[in-house]
Each structure stands twice: as C-alpha cells, then as structure tokens.
C-alpha cells in the first residue's frame, strides 16, 4: 500500500466548524461541525438529502462552503480545490463516480496526477503501479479495460482504487458498498482495518446498519443539513441512531410479508441472451409472492429481468407472461402487459433529471386515457394524480414541480416507484431497489413491495444485498455465471446456502 504514515497529531485530523452551504432554496448544510481523528472511522449518518454528500464535497474541495472554518492536520485551510485536497492527502470516493467512461481503469486511476516526464505520459510506469495497487486491493479488475465496459460494481472498485492511489491521510467513502457484493465488501472491510491501523482517518457514509455496526468508531448524525449529535458507536443502539436521524422511532425489522403463491405470472424457459450474460435459464415467478434473485457481480441477474422487460436481447428460449407467450419484448409492450421495471441506475436509466418530478412520474402512463386523450395531455388531471401518488409515497419536499435532479436518492427512488402507481400492473421487476436510499426510505420501499404482493402482484427482486433478498423473498434463485445455480425455499433459504452456491464451482475447481 502506498500509504505514508504521519505521526499521530495531537488534535483531530480534520476539524470543521460552522460549515454552511446553500443551494437554490435549499440549505444543504447549516453550521455543521465535524471532527475526524486519525485512525478512526467516522460514520456520517442521515436520511437522503440530509447533506452527507454535500459535506463530503466541501471536505474534498469540490464546493467552497458559504461559511465556516476548515482545519486539516492542524492547519487552517482556505480555498480548497480538488487538486489541493489530494495533495494534502484527502481522498474521496464519490457516490456519483468521478470516472471518465471513455477512459480505461488505469487512465482513470491516475487522472489528475499522471506520472509524466516533461508533459509526456509514462504509460508503463503507470500501468505497473495501477496493477500493483489493484492486486494489493485484491480487486478483480483489469487496468486496461474501459470504464464503460464495466459493470457498476467494477466501476465502484475502480473508484475506490483511484482514491487509494498516492498518499492518503483522510479517506472518504460515500456509500462504497452500494453496488458491491459480499466478496468485494469483505475485501473492502479488510482494507479499512489496515488503513485504520496506519492512522488514516476515514469518513464513511452508509445506509446499511450492519456495516455501521461493524465498522464505526464514532457516528455523526445529520438531519436537514444540521449536526444533530456525534456519539460513540459502542455506546449507542441502532434504534437510537435511527431515531436521531429521523426524529421519530422506526421499527428496523423487515416487514412480515404474507406470501400467497398463486398462478405463475412469469415463466422463463431456456433463456439465453445474445451477449451470453444469461445462459439456458429456467425460472418462474408467481403472483402473490416475492421471488428473489441473488448472485455475485456479473452473474447476469440484472440481465435476466432486463430481458424480460425488453432491454436486453434474447437469442434463444421463451418467456411467458400469465401463460401467454411473450415473443419480442419491448418496454412499451411490457408496460401494456402489466410489467414494470425499476432500474438500478436511476440517473442513467431512470430519470430525466432536469424535468419536473410530475413529468418523470407520469412518463409511463402517457398512453392512458387518465393522462392524455387523443394525444393531448390532461394536465390538471395529471397534476392531481401525481400529487396524490407522491403524497402517498411521502415525497420530500412534496413539491412535484421541482426538477427530479434536485431530489435526494431516496426521493428519486420514490418518483420511480410512483410510476408503478400510475397504471394497472401485475409484474414488478426491481433491480437493486434499495441502493443508495436511507433506512427509512428502504422500509417504505419494502412496505410498498409488501402491499404489491399482498394485492396479488408478482414481484421479482434482484439484489446484491443478501439480507434484503433473504428476508423479502419467498423463493430465492441464486445465479452463477449466467446460470441458475440453486433455488432455495423455506428453511433452505439461508445465508450459508446462498454463499455456498456462489462459490461452489470455485471450490470444486480448487479441489480438482
């Protein structure tokens, strides 16, 4: 690891006092204080839109704060720029990646700090160092691959590796595990432990209570841009944290869902996709139950449901919806047949960010008489309907004329969910439904699914977060390298069994 060790400073590594930051009409940060010590992992905890990412952007020099003081390593810092931040050892891993899609992993790792001689790049040197770093981190990442050829999980790894290149004194991780699976998460945690022992300070943002429990030394709770309290992780309970975060008590358990498996709504037979990411898959989902799909990164689980919805091309096999063959799926046809899909990437595939929430929510219903007659929009009806739906989903802030881009992650997900309520649907395909959304919002999404299943819909959940799929689904498929490796029901549906299906081949190979 290329981490140089500084002698432990007497005072906190990072000391923020009275930091404020305003955006249009929003006070994203309101006189926030924060101390991070060397060698500690400091969790920032708060609802979507509480100001965590904004604070991180201030610390890493992306935004100048409107007011407040900033000390790092005992020194007062003014006019921090991203370059300067990296020079003094502040290294951020952003929630929205800071990667250039058309460049390779290695080019991205060194972006802004290339090794050069007289303006000429030293490619070999950089490749060597990139490879060494990636090997050391234990990531399964090819430095020569282009970012836009990678899955989101691999992009996340690249983003992490990028932050660890060079001398790091403060590492900032904004929801780093949101798209990682068990194995990578494990790697990351090992790494974090190592960094802590080397006196690196860490700021960590996550909505996963399990992680916070496992990692945190101290937790700072933010609410509505204000600093609520900083507490020792050891002396606080989950319930306490959530209460501080939301201002109310929330039951943190997964909702109990009464599955009543009925007729087969989605039936997939021998499905193989044109790009080979899914091969000869047999799979079905019934009305009245949640069908889960778990699997490692790149196993093809997303592609499977995307093929059903019609955004991946199948080369062989058959799909039947409610018993009727469904030959050439397209999103429009799927919606007409009552199938909805909720993409994992809400920025690239979900929302038109600069358009109003109202338009984003009604987009899937524009062919219905409720929203348009003879191609002419019924704007009043639309406003009423969408406002109602958004109220039901408790959108915050509740103004549906704001642009979707101004919303926090959880609220963006609510806009997506709102689409499902604009029309009659029977099959719901969720791809990573809880990525990036806060604990409260997660529970709302789970409640939403619960209502759907109990109303008799077929719900399919694809997720990398094992506890989530295990708790939600009635039946769980485990995918491995494009094929179904196992189907688990009832008592067989345990974490142990899932993990062993993940790795079965590898273990077999190793034995052989």
């Amino acid at each position: 690891m290329n981490v140089e060790i500084d002698p432990r400073p007497a005072e906190p590594l990072l000391q923020l006092r009275g930091i404020s930051k305003r955006f249009t009409g929003v006070r994203a940060l309101d006189r926030v204080d924060l101390d991070v010590r060397a060698g500690e992992l400091h969790v920032l905890f708060g609802e979507n839109g509480a100001g965590k990412s904004t604070l991180i952007n201030v610390v890493s020099g992306t935004f100048p704060p409107d007011e407040g003081t900033f000390q790092f390593g005992g020194e007062e810092i003014h006019h921090l720029t991203p370059q300067r931040a990296r020079e003094i050892g502040i290294s951020p891993v952003f929630q929205e990646f800071s990667l250039i899609p058309s460049l390779t992993v290695e080019e991205n790792l060194f972006l802004g700090r290339e090794v050069t001689r007289g303006g000429v790049l030293r490619a070999r040197e950089m490749r060597k160092r990139a490879r060494a770093l990636i090997d050391e981190l234990g990531f399964d990442l090819d430095p020569a691959q282009r970012i836009d050829d990678l899955s989101r999980a691999h992009q996340q790894m690249a983003e992490i590796a990028k932050a660890l290149l060079g001398r790091v004194r403060l590492l900032i991780l904004d929801e780093p595990t949101a798209s990682l699976t068990e194995r990578e998460t494990g790697r990351l945690f090992e790494l974090i432990a190592r960094l802590k022992s080397q006196d690196v300070g860490l700021i960590y943002v996550s909505h996963r209570m399990r992680e916070i429990r496992a990692l945190a030394d101290r937790v700072t709770v933010l609410r509505d841009g204000r600093h609520i309290r900083t507490l020792d992780a050891a002396n606080s309970t989950d319930g306490e944290l959530v209460e501080l975060m939301t201002g109310r008590t929330i039951d943190l358990l997964f909702p109990a869902i009464a599955h009543q498996p009925d007729k087969v709504m989605v039936d997939v037979e021998n499905l193989t996709l044109a790009d080979g990411s899914v091969r000869e898959v047999n799979f079905h989902a019934r009305a009245g139950e949640i069908t889960g799909i778990a699997g490692l990164v790149g196993c093809g689980k997303s592609e499977l449901i995307r093929a059903i919805y019609g955004i991946e091309r199948a080369s062989a096999g058959a799909i039947r919806i409610d018993g009727a063959p469904y030959e050439f799926p397209t999103p429009r046809q799927s919606l007409k047949r009552g199938i909805a899909y909720f993409p994992a990437n809400r920025i690239a595939e979900g929302l038109a960010l600069s358009r109003p929430i109202r338009e984003n929510a009604s987009i899937t219903g524009l062919d219905l008489p409720a929203f348009a007659r003879f191609g002419v929009l019924r704007q009043a009806a639309e406003r009423v309907t969408i406002a109602g739906i958004m109220e039901q989903l408790q959108l915050r802030p509740p103004n549906i004329e704001r642009s979707a881009g101004a919303l926090s992650g959880g609220n963006r997900q609510k806009v997506m969910l709102g689409r499902a309520l604009t029309r009659e649907l029977t099959v719901f395909l969720f791809d990573e439904p809880s990525v990036g959304i806060d604990v409260g919002a997660k529970l709302e999404v789970y409640e939403f699914m619960k209502r759907l299943v109990e109303a008799g819909a077929a719900v399919i959940v694809v997720s990398s977060e094992l506890p989530e799929v295990l708790a939600l689904s009635n039946r769980l498929y485990v995918m491995h390298q494009g094929r179904i490796a196992a189907e688990l029901t009832g008592t067989a549906k345990t974490e142990q069994n899932v993990l062993s299906s993940f790795f079965r081949d590898h273990l077999a190979a190793e034995v052989a």
Binding site: T24, S334, S354, I363, G375, V376, S403, G405
Partner: protein, 337 residues
Amino acid sequence: MSDLELTVAAKDTDRPKLTLGRRLWSAVLPVALAVLLLGFTAVDRGVLSPANLLNIAQQTSYLALFAMAQTVVILTRGFDLALGPTVSMVSVGSALAMAGATASGHGAGAVLLAGLGAGFALGIACGLFNGGVVALLGVNPFVATLGSYNIAIGIATTLSAGRPVQGVPAPFSQIFYSGSILGVPAAIVITLAVGIALHLLLARTVFGRSLYLIGTNPRAAAVAGLPVKRILVAAYVLCSWLAALGAIMMTARTGSGEPNLGGALSLQAIAGAVVGGTSLAGGRGGVGTAVLGALFITILSNGMNLTRIDGYVQMVVLGAIVIIGVLLDRLRQERRQ
C-alpha cells in the same frame, strides 16, 4: 472550480419568487433587443417607423419558422443540417408541379393543390429519410442530415436544371405572401398560427412531452416505455414539414421556384434557435426561444442595414453581438440561482 457548480446549478429548474431584479434579468434578451432598437433609432429615425416594424415582423416570420423547425429536432439532441436544401428542393418541386398543372390546363384550385401536395410530399419524404436514418439506423444526426443535405441539393439542381422555375401562379403568391388578414401580411399570420399550434403541441401533447423527455435522457425515456424511435422519426418529419411550409411561403415571396433558395438557411435557423436559448444538449427550448432568437438576428441586421453599416463590418458586428447576447443569457441563468 466554479465549472462544476455551474453545470450542477444549471440542472435546476426551480422557479424562485420573482423579485424586480430577477424579473429584469429573466427578460435580458428582450431588454437587449429593446436597447438595440433604441440605439439604431438614435442613428436613423426610420428604424422605429411603423413600416419598418412591420417589415421586421415579416422578415422575422420566415426565420422564426425555420428556427422553430430546428427547435423540434434540437429538443431531441439532434439538428437538421439539411433544412436549407430541403427548402430549395421543396421550392423547385412545388413550382414545377404548379407549372406542370397549369400547362396541362387545370384550374387554379387544382394547381394550388398540386403545388402544396408536391411541396409537402417532398418535405415529408426528407423528414422520413432523416428520421429513419437517425432513429432506425442509429446514425448520428450530423452525418445523417449532412447526407440528406447533399442529396437534396443534388435533387434541387437536377430537377430545375439549375435555373429558377417560372410559372408560380398569382393566386399562390396571393395566399402565401401578398395576402393579409386585417392588414397583417400572410407570412406573419401563418407563422403566428404555426407558432401557437406548435407551442400547444410541445406543451400540451404527449408527443411534445416526449420530445423533452427524450432530449433530456434518451435511455430513461426508452426504459420508461416511450416509443423513442417513432417519436424521433415524427420529430424529423415535423421539422422538414415546417421547412416545407417555409419553403412554400418563400416561393410565394419570390414568385418562382429557386434551386438556391435555402443555401445558407440551415445554419441560420440553428443559430436562431440557439441564440434564443435552445440547448443543443437537448430538452431545453421551445417556440418562445426560437422566435426570440429569430427576432434578435433580424433586428440586428435590419438595424445595421438602415443605419448603413458596411457589408463586411456587419458580419463582424453580428458575430460579436451574437456572442454577447448568449453570454448575457447565460449570466441571467446564473443569476437565477
């Protein structure tokens, strides 16, 4: 540093409460226009005369129509380089059709129909080609419409043998050019009507809404089940149809089919749209921006003509003022944050 802030800030479309200062800023382009007009008037009284104002309105109506046509496709992140040659082709085609119909002894009504039919058919064919190549073959709009640009030029000059096509009947010019309603010349009436219709189409229909959504995020629009390809084709057809309408109005204005009529129009129309505030990145703009941009460019060149600014100096001034105008507009948006 401020780059990021800017790009991020620009995404926000919130409508904050309008204070007086903000209200002034939000109207910066119209205000700049007024200042321009007054400046020109100081040099030459004639600029603000009713006759010249009507003249400005009439000239604007053509450019505005073409800028609106471009706006439709620019909203979807495209543009139509072939608009100018489409105008030439339609002009020649409709004039030939009318000359032919007249020669074979048809009545005035049939002749008019032949002209309109041929003109609109050519326009729609052009739009189908552009839309088909862009949406179905996935060729980017620049190459697709540069291709049809060449094709339309070839067809226009071949059909006409390079000469103006005579034989545009008087009633045709009567209706689309010299006629007037309540003293308002035909070109202004038509453009106003088309502008209002187009505004309603963009703001009030599923098609219009889809254009904005597709321009803002094409992938998301497709995933949300919008028939993206069909809408793209329709957008290009609408653009070319509007160009054909403009071509017919201009043919009525010239009284002949002109193989070079559209020569420099493609860029001028894009400039009109963009100067008015339409974003080439898609999803932002409308009839208002197109009209504003067309008005800006027309007033500028009219004023320079009336105040006798030398030909090539005009080009320099125009270039500088276009940049300044758009700069002001950008500052306005920044102010709004």
